[in-house]
C-alpha cells in the first residue's frame, strides 16, 4: 500500500493521546489550600487503581478510530502496474527530449541527463523507433526516426549517444511547451507504410525548472496515444541567485548620472543571502568598487550601478583567445552567414573562461552565488540618438503664426533622443542624408519641384514625410506622391470644422484609443484644404472632418509614406497646435515613422533581434559582430538577427551606423525551483509518472499516484470504518456509563 500524503500517518501517534491524558490526570495540577501540612508527608506517585486502564475495549476502539482517521487522511492507494499500450505489441516509438537550456549548466545536471538518455537509447529494441532531440529556446533534432531506422540496429544507440556527447547546455531559455508540442506532433504523424497515427512516448529529461515556458500547452489538444514520461533531474545544490537587467535598466534622464539598474533575485530555497555586485573586468575581478547586497531568499532587490564616463567610452577589447559558444549546435537561418577569422583557434573554453574573456568593462557580475550560469549581464553603453527633422518651407522660427514656430517647440529633446530641426528654405541646397541616418520631413504647402522630387526619393527609400496641404501645394503633392494632379480646394466652414472618424487602430492614433484620451472635439479647424483621398492610390484616411472630407491621409510612396494633413496646426488654421494632443501625436509620428528608435535595453539569447528595433532598416546588409569577434551578415530581407546564441555584447554595423546591443540570459532561466509536480497534468499533458521511473521499461509503468488514488478512493471506505468504530465506541461508552455512574469511572 502506498500513500499520497504519508505525513498524515503521523496523526496515528494520537492513539497514545487517551492513554497519556489518563496518566497525566494522575499528576494533577489541582491545588488544594489546606490549613497546615504539619501532619502530611510527601507522597510519591504510585500506581493506583485510578491509574490502571479499566476498559480495554473502549481504549482499543478509540485508538482504532484515531488510527483509521490518520490512515484515511494519508490517502492510501494500491499501486497497480498498467501497461502503456494495453494489448499492443507494436514496436515502440520514443522521442527522447533532452533539455539543453542554460539552467542545465548547473552542477551535474547535464551529465546526468546524458547518462539517462544513453541508457534509454541502449534499451531500445531492434524494432523500436527512437528519436533524440534537444531543446532550449529552439528544438533541435539530433536524430530522427528516419535516420534511426536507416542506421544498422547495432550502431543506432552509439551514433545517437555520440551526437549527444557533443552537445553541452547552451544559453537559451526552456521552451518546454514548444518542444513537447513539436515532439507530440511528430509522434502523431502517420508513420510510413501505416494508415493510422503511430502514437508513442515522449521521454522528457529535464530539470523541469519553474522558469520553463509551459503556457503554450494551455488549451493545446494533445494527440491520442501520445504519452509523456518525465524524468526530472535534481541539482546537487539547491538555491540560486540570478542577475537581470531591470526593465528601465539604463537611465539617461537629464541631469542625472547614467545608471545601469540590475535586479538581484534570490531563489526561495537558497541558503545564502549576501552577494557582491559590480562592474567586472577580465576574470572574476571587479573593476570598480563592489556593492554588497543582502537579498533574503525568495526576494529580489534592484541595485543601481553608476555608469562612469570611462566605462562609457571604454573601447571594446577583442578577446585574446576568442571563445566559442559552449554548444556546437549552431542554428543558422537561411539568410545569415557566419564567418570566423581565419586565425581563430577552434578550441572550446569552458563557460567561465568564455564569460571572463568578453568585454570586461560592460558586464556586471554577481558574486556569492554557487550557481554561476546566470551571474553575468551585459549591457551596452547608453547612446543618445540624434534625429534630423527637415522642414521645407519659407518660414521663420520666430513667426508665431506659422506651423514651424510650434513644431520647433514640440519636438522632443532628451538625453536619449534628440531631434534637431533643420530648416530648408525654397532656395536652400538640399540636405545630405546618409543611408540609415534617422530623419523625418515636414513640408508646408507649396515647395519647389526640386525639393518635392527630393522628398519623393527619400520616401521611396522608406522614410516618412508630413505635408501640410494648401491649394497651392497641388503640384508638390503630385510630385511627392508620384501620381497625377490632385484637385485641391480651400474650404472655410461657416463656423468651424471638427475631426471625426478617427482611425484609432492606426499606430499613429493608437495611443489615443483609450476613451479617456480619444476626445478630439476640442480641436476646431477654421479652414482646410479639401481633396479626394481616392485620387491618391493606396491612401488610407486616418481622420476626417465632420463634413466628411479627409483630414489626415497616409499615402504609401515606395517603401516610405507621406502623411497629408489637410489643415495647418497653427492657430490661424486650427487649434491643433494649442491642444494637448499635438505633442503626443508628433511623438507618435516620430516613433511610427522609424525616425526615433529606442532599442530595448537587452535581447535574450536564442531569440531573434529585429533590425528595426536597432534602427538598422534601410541601410542594406547588416554585419553583426559576435562577442567572440566572429561576424554574421544579416540581409535586409531577413529583418532580424537570429544567431544571438550566447550572452555578450554584439555590434551591428549597417551603412554608416553602428549599434551595440547586449544579449543576456532570459531571466526565467534563473528560476530554478522545480515545477509543481502536477503542473503538466494540469495543462492536460498525459504524464505517465511525475517523478520519473526506471529507464528501459517504457512500455509499462505504474500509473500516476494521484490518478490511482482518486480512482481507488480507499479513504472513503476507511472513513466509513472509522465512523463505524466511533459509533460502537459511543454505544459501549454509554452502556458502561450507565452501569457505573460514579464520576471518574471512565476507562481511559
Amino acid at each position: 500500500m502506498n500513500f499520497l500524503a504519508p505525513l498524515f500517518l503521523l496523526g496515528a501517534l494520537a492513539v497514545a493521546a487517551p492513554v497519556i491524558f489518563h496518566l497525566i490526570r494522575r499528576t494533577t495540577r489541582d491545588r488544594t489550600r489546606f490549613s497546615s501540612l504539619l501532619f502530611l508527608q510527601p507522597d510519591p506517585p504510585r500506581l493506583t487503581q485510578r491509574s490502571r486502564i479499566e476498559n480495554w475495549l473502549l481504549l482499543l476502539l478509540r485508538a482504532a478510530a484515531l488510527a483509521l482517521l490518520a490512515l484515511a487522511f494519508a490517502r492510501p492507494f494500491i499501486r497497480t502496474e498498467t501497461p502503456l499500450n494495453p494489448g499492443s505489441d507494436k514496436n515502440r516509438r520514443i522521442v527522447i527530449l533532452v533539455d539543453t537550456s542554460a539552467s542545465m549548466q548547473r552542477d551535474g545536471l547535464f551529465p546526468a541527463a546524458r547518462e539517462k538518455a544513453e541508457e534509454l537509447l541502449r534499451g531500445a529494441g531492434p524494432g523500436d523507433q527512437a528519436a533524440l532531440w534537444t531543446f532550449d529556446a529552439t528544438t533541435r533534432r539530433l536524430m530522427d526516426f528516419t535516420e534511426w531506422t536507416a542506421l544498422p540496429a547495432e550502431s543506432r544507440a552509439a551514433t545517437a549517444a555520440g551526437r549527444l556527447a557533443e552537445v553541452t547546455p547552451g544559453w537559451g531559455n526552456t521552451q518546454l511547451a514548444t518542444a513537447l508540442t513539436t515532439a507530440a506532433e511528430r509522434l502523431a504523424e502517420i508513420p510510413p507504410g501505416e494508415t493510422s497515427p503511430g502514437g508513442g512516448e515522449i521521454i522528457l529529461i529535464s530539470d523541469l525548472q519553474e522558469g520553463s515556458r509551459v503556457e503554450g500547452l494551455q488549451g493545446w489538444e494533445w494527440p491520442q496515444e501520445v504519452f509523456v514520461t518525465s524524468i526530472a533531474l535534481t541539482a546537487k545544490q539547491t538555491g540560486n541567485a540570478g542577475l537581470q537587467l531591470a526593465p528601465d535598466s539604463v537611465t539617461l534622464a537629464a541631469g542625472e548620472e547614467p545608471q545601469a539598474r540590475v535586479r538581484v533575485w534570490n531563489a526561495p530555497d537558497s541558503t545564502g543571502e549576501q552577494f557582491q555586485i559590480g562592474w567586472a573586468a577580465a576574470g572574476e575581478a571587479f573593476t570598480g568598487p563592489a556593492h554588497d547586497v543582502v537579498v533574503p531568499p525568495g526576494q529580489s532587490k534592484v541595485v543601481a550601478l553608476p555608469w562612469s564616463a570611462d566605462l562609457q567610452s571604454a573601447p571594446e577589447h577583442r578577446p585574446a583567445q576568442p571563445p566559442l559558444l559552449n554548444s556546437t549546435i549552431q542554428t543558422n537561418s537561411n539568410n545569415t552567414a557566419t564567418s570566423s577569422p581565419a586565425s581563430q583557434p577552434q578550441s572550446q573554453p569552458a563557460g567561465a573562461d568564455f564569460k571572463s574573456a568578453l568585454q570586461p568593462s560592460r558586464r556586471i557580475l554577481l558574486k556569492g552565488d554557487p550557481e554561476p550560469f546566470d551571474n553575468t549581464v551585459f549591457t551596452a553603453p547608453p547612446v543618445a540618438v540624434e534625429v534630423a527633422a527637415h522642414y521645407f518651407g519659407a518660414e521663420l522660427l520666430t513667426d508665431s503664426k506659422k506651423p514651424l514656430f510650434f513644431l520647433n517647440r514640440a519636438l522632443p529633446e532628451s538625453r536619449q533622443v534628440s531631434v534637431k530641426l533643420n530648416l530648408v528654405p525654397p532656395e536652400a541646397a538640399l540636405p545630405v542624408i546618409l543611408p540609415g541616418q534617422p530623419a523625418i520631413f515636414f513640408a508646408n504647402g507649396a515647395i519647389p519641384p526640386a525639393q518635392a522630387t527630393f522628398l519623393h526619393q527619400q520616401l521611396q527609400s522608406g522614410r516618412t514625410a508630413l505635408l501640410i496641404l494648401s491649394a497651392a501645394a497641388a503640384p508638390a503633392l503630385a510630385v511627392i506622391t508620384g501620381t497625377g494632379a490632385v484637385p485641391l480646394e480651400d474650404i472655410k466652414p461657416t463656423t468651424y470644422g471638427m475631426l471625426s472618424e478617427i482611425d484609432f487602430k492606426h499606430p499613429l492614433f493608437a495611443p489615443f484609443a483609450d476613451p479617456r484620451f480619444s476626445d478630439f472635439t476640442k480641436i476646431r479647424f477654421w479652414h482646410y484644404t479639401k481633396f479626394a483621398a481616392t485620387a491618391l492610390p493606396g491612401s488610407r484616411v486616418l481622420a476626417r472632418f465632420d463634413s466628411g472630407d479627409p483630414a489626415l491621409v497616409e499615402v504609401p510612396v515606395g517603401q516610405g509614406r507621406l502623411m497629408v494633413l489637410a489643415s495647418g496646426w497653427e492657430p490661424g488654421s486650427s487649434q491643433w497646435a494649442l491642444s494637448s494632443k499635438f505633442v503626443p501625436l508628433l511623438s507618435s509620428l516620430l516613433e511610427w515613422s522609424g525616425a526615433v528608435v529606442t532599442p530595448p535595453a537587452q535581447f535574450f539569447a536564442g531569440q531573434p533581434v529585429p533590425l528595426n528595433l536597432l534602427g538598422l532598416t534601410g541601410v542594406g546588409p547588416v554585419s553583426v559582430r559576435h562577442p567572440e569577434w566572429t561576424t554574421t551578415t544579416v540581409t535586409p530581407e531577413a529583418g532580424a538577427f537570429m544567431a544571438a546564441a550566447q550572452p555578450g555584447l554584439y555590434t551591428a554595423t549597417g551603412g554608416t551606423l553602428t549599434k551595440t546591443f547586449g544579449v543576456n540570459l532570459d531571466p526565467a532561466e534563473s528560476r530554478t525551483l522545480p515545477l509543481p509536480t502536477d503542473e503538466l497534468d494540469r495543462l492536460g499533458v498525459p504524464v505517465r509518472r511525475a517523478d520519473g521511473r526506471e529507464p528501459g521499461q517504457p512500455n509499462s509503468g505504474p500509473a500516476p499516484a494521484v490518478e490511482t488514488e482518486s480512482r481507488q478512493k480507499l479513504w472513503r471506505w476507511i472513513m466509513i470504518a472509522a465512523l463505524a468504530v466511533l459509533l460502537i465506541e459511543t454505544l459501549l461508552a454509554g452502556l458502561s456509563a450507565r452501569r457505573a455512574p460514579a464520576p471518574g469511572g471512565s476507562a481511559v
Binding site: R31, R33, F34, S35, S36, L38, D43, P45, R46, G744
Partner: protein
Amino acid sequence: MSAPPSSANATAPPPASRIDTAALMSIRSLELRARAVVEGFWSGLHRSPYHGFSVEFTEYRQYTPGDDPRHLDWRVYARSDRYYIRKFEDETNLRCHLLVDQSHSMDFGTLGWTKAEYAATLAATLARFLHLQGDAVGLLSFDDALRDYLPARQRVGHLRQIIIALDKPPGGAATNLIKPIQRITEIVRKRALMVVISDFLTQLDELERHLVSLTASGHETVLFQVLDPAELTLDFATPSVFEDAESGRTLYVDPAAARAGYLARFQAHQEALAALCRKLGAAFHVLSTARPLEQALTDFFQDRLKRGRLVRRGAR
C-alpha cells in the same frame, strides 16, 4: 463568669432551640451571630425546669460597722440575734481574657465558613454572654505576632470594640501561641479566666512551658481547639497539590493514600495536647466547625460547672 447557671447547664437545651450552624454562619454580622447564639442559649435556659442563681453563697462573717446593711442575713439574726453578713463569690471581680488565633491556618474551611469565622463567633458569643452577666472581658488576638489587645473591662461599648477586633480577617505567616500566652501572663496579674481559641496546629514543645506559667499564675485556662471536619478526617476525593495556608509550602498528596498516616499523626498530636491540658489542669475542648455553637457552649458550661464543683469541693 464564675457562676454559670448550674442547674441550667445540667441539661442541654432541646435541639429545637438550637440555631442551625449553616444558617448562623450565613449571618454576615459577627455581632448578630453572637447575639443569636446567646439569646438562643438564654431561651434554652429559661425553658429549663431549674432556675439558677446568679450569685454563689460562700460563707458568713460577723458584721462589723461599716458593712453594707443590705447584706445582713436577717434570718440568722432572728435565730441567733447576731448580725452576720452573707458573703458571696465576687463575680464582678472575675475577668476573662479571650486569646483568639487569627493566623492564616484559621482561614480554612470546607463547609462554607472558615475556622476563623467560627472562632470569632465563638469568642464573640462568649464575650457577649459574659458581658451580659456583668463580667469584664478582654481580647488578645494574634497570628505569628500579637495583633489586637483590649484589656478586660465591663463598660458600655467595650463589647463593640471586641467584636470589631474579632471581625478582622486572618493574617500572619504562622501560628505562634507562645507570644500571646507570654504576653498575657505578663500583663494580667490578677486571677482571670484565660480562654485560648485556636486550632493548635503547631508544635507543642514550647507551648507547655508557657501554659505552665499561665496556670501557675492562678489563671483558669480553657483551650478551645477549632477544627474543620476535613482536618479531622482528611476527606478529600482527588489527589492534588496541597498548599499550606500559612507558609505557602506545597506538597502533592493523594488523600486516599495519605489518610492513614495523617490521622495517626493528627491523633498523636491531639492526645499530646489533651494530656498537656490534663497535666496543667486546663480545660480542653475540641470544636468541629460543623458543630452548633450552642451545643459547644453548653458542653463548655457543663464542663465548667463540674470543674467548679470539684474545685470548691477541693477547697472545702
